[in-house]
């Protein structure tokens, strides 16, 4: 039972990271109907930037966190402007390929700038543990869970109460109607890319202490797809719930099932869900109008 709980908690922590990456997918998908295959790489870029700020420049963790998130917001908007804006309205397949290309470019640039060695960062949570009875929870894991809850709250408030947030919601619900209401749709797209890059960056910095920072971190983004699909690809709470589900499945299958299942468990769950409920667990069953 203790093992089970222990695995469950590490699964939830990992799942929160998947959830945050999936959140980035969902934000962009909802508003622009583009699936951003570079989301994992954007997260990786965030993690590498935190290495520069914390280890190389020796800045305070919290200050670095804020600086990284701001820098990624700007980079996200630049990426949208350079890569996505010129091909808005193209077939989805082309746009997906463009984001895959963007991911390749980011990964290669990260390799050129930071090298291919494993890097690590020092955080206020490193090596701290929290014990309840025999249960041991690392502060790293706890920090991810708490930060995810805070971030979700912040996003909820943003979308519910701010003008920009409501405008973003309007854009994602009906682009044309939003445009008629005077919402600058294209600027909203840039803002949504910034927002999604910010979320991905936060996920990257939170993940950095658990897994080392290396050039293959971006592949975690591919693991976040099952999370997003599970959540229905259009629902923000769904993305986080899907992420946590995937995290728990992965963690438990790594512990109880034979070796090898850990890596594919997420995809098996994904295919099963797609066969059973093609719109995802939380998805809306919308019929497309012609």
């Amino acid at each position: 039972m203790l093992d089970f709980t222990q695995q469950l908690i590490s699964g939830v922590a990992l799942g929160c990271v998947y959830g945050l990456i999936a959140l980035g997918f969902v934000l962009i998908y909802k508003a622009t109907e583009v699936v951003n295959f570079a989301q994992g790489e954007i997260m990786m870029l965030g993690a590498f930037m935190s290495v520069t700020f914390i280890t190389t420049l020796g800045l305070n963790y919290w200050l670095s966190f804020v600086l990284c998130v701001i820098a990624m917001a700007i980079l996200g908007a630049i990426m949208e402007r350079l890569v996505i804006r010129p091909i808005l309205g193209y077939p989805q397949f082309s746009i997906v390929m463009a984001t895959i290309g963007l991911g390749l470019v980011i990964r290669a640039l990260v390799g050129i700038i930071w090298g291919t060695d494993d890097l690590r960062i020092e955080t206020p949570f490193t090596d701290g543990v929290f014990t309840i009875g025999k249960l041991v929870i690392a502060w790293d894991a706890l920090s991810i869970i708490v930060a995810t809850i805070l971030l979700c709250g912040a996003l909820y408030t943003f979308f519910r109460y701010t003008r920009v947030g409501i405008a973003m919601q309007a854009t994602s619900q009906n682009m044309l109607a939003a445009y008629y209401m005077g919402i600058p749709v294209k600027r909203m797209f840039s803002l949504i890319w910034s927002l999604s890059a910010m979320v991905a960056c936060a996920a990257g910095i939170l993940l950095a202490p658990i897994t080392l920072v290396h050039a293959n971190l971006g592949f975690l983004g591919i693991k976040a797809f099952p999370a997003a699909v599970l959540g229905g690809f259009g629902s923000i709470p769904g993305a986080v719930a899907g992420g946590i589900t995937i995290g728990i499945v992965e963690s438990l299958s790594g512990f109880y099932l034979p070796e090898g299942f850990k890596d594919v468990a997420a995809y098996i769950v994904l295919l099963a869900v797609l066969l059973w409920k093609p719109q995802g667990l939380f998805g809306l069953n919308a019929i497309k109008k012609v």
């Binding site: 390929m97 290669a108 050129i112 294209k186 797609l274 093609p278």
Partner: protein
Amino acid sequence: MAHHVRTDYGDSEPLFPSKAAAFWYAVLLAGLIAAPYVLESYYLSQLVFIMIYAIVGVALNILSGQAGQVSIGHAAFLAIGAYFTAVSQKYGVPLVLYLPLAGIFTGIAGYLVGLPALRLHGIYLAIATLAFAFIVEEIIARWESVTNGNEGLMLPPPTVFGLKLGTEGFYYLCLLVTVLVILAAINIIRSSTGRSFMAIRDSETAARSMGIDTARYKTTAFALSAGITGIAGALYAHKMSFISPEMFSLSVSIDFVMIIIIGGLVSLRGAVFGAIFMIMADPLLIILKDKVPLWSDALTHGLFLPDTVTQAIQAGVLRVVNAPGLKSLIFGIIIIVFIIYEPMGLDGRWQRVKAYFKQFPLARQRAARPPRMFLKSERR
């Protein structure tokens, strides 16, 4: 554009667009048949790779270009074909039997993947194929009694009717298979099956309301595409003479999609152009790796900059050129540039060049440009 006057129903779907085209294809084929006597073995080997990639390109063209279904997991089909070949060769099945069987076996796998495709659209489908590819890769790595796991499998050289195929023999085998696959693909595309694929691509709802069994044709497209990729996998296994799971990773699937993006989605010619581009990119990059530092050296010396600046530039150039991820950087940029500036691919460019010379003094650049795409909110 010149008008074609059609006097017969067969005219609208000819095998070759004109007599001249048939003549030039015959010349190309004659050239390819003569190639082993003319070219060095290195170029011959590159040609074999181009043909294998072209077969995969044709397969993806049928699935994505004609039927409009996305797959970013085609490396899995290549792997299934390759492993099927390796295992059947081990048990002494003759090549004339296992080559088509590899296609059929992979086709069945493709049919099974196509089943979820019935209910999935666009991005969900892409992710499902991605998941399938990961699962196949993991199965191959773990099913050690058959696939020898991560150690990989060695393949003896292929034999046909007891005769060992040398480099040239294998080249002719690949050429034969490529020509047959391309002819088959052209015939599929100009048959009612191909037209149903296109109808599904352009609008699934419209296709269904015209009485096309969309479920049947989508799975057919998957099965055909997978089967052709399986045959390519069989050739690939023999070409490499060693296969292991990491040769069929996600990046290979992305390379395959690049073939059709760069070549152009709409025509089979595009698949061949894309294959040539993808295979030739590697040797070109190696040449560039040697030359670029020399060029930048000459350039910086020509500008009479201070020594420190020259050295800094030189160091930077060397660092970029020797970076491990250089290939993916350049490929990533190529994908983005092609999608933004050349959405019809190399084939689209070829068509435009041809049209320019055909209409020579009257050609106008504007007329050849693809129409601009608009967002819903941009339509006025």
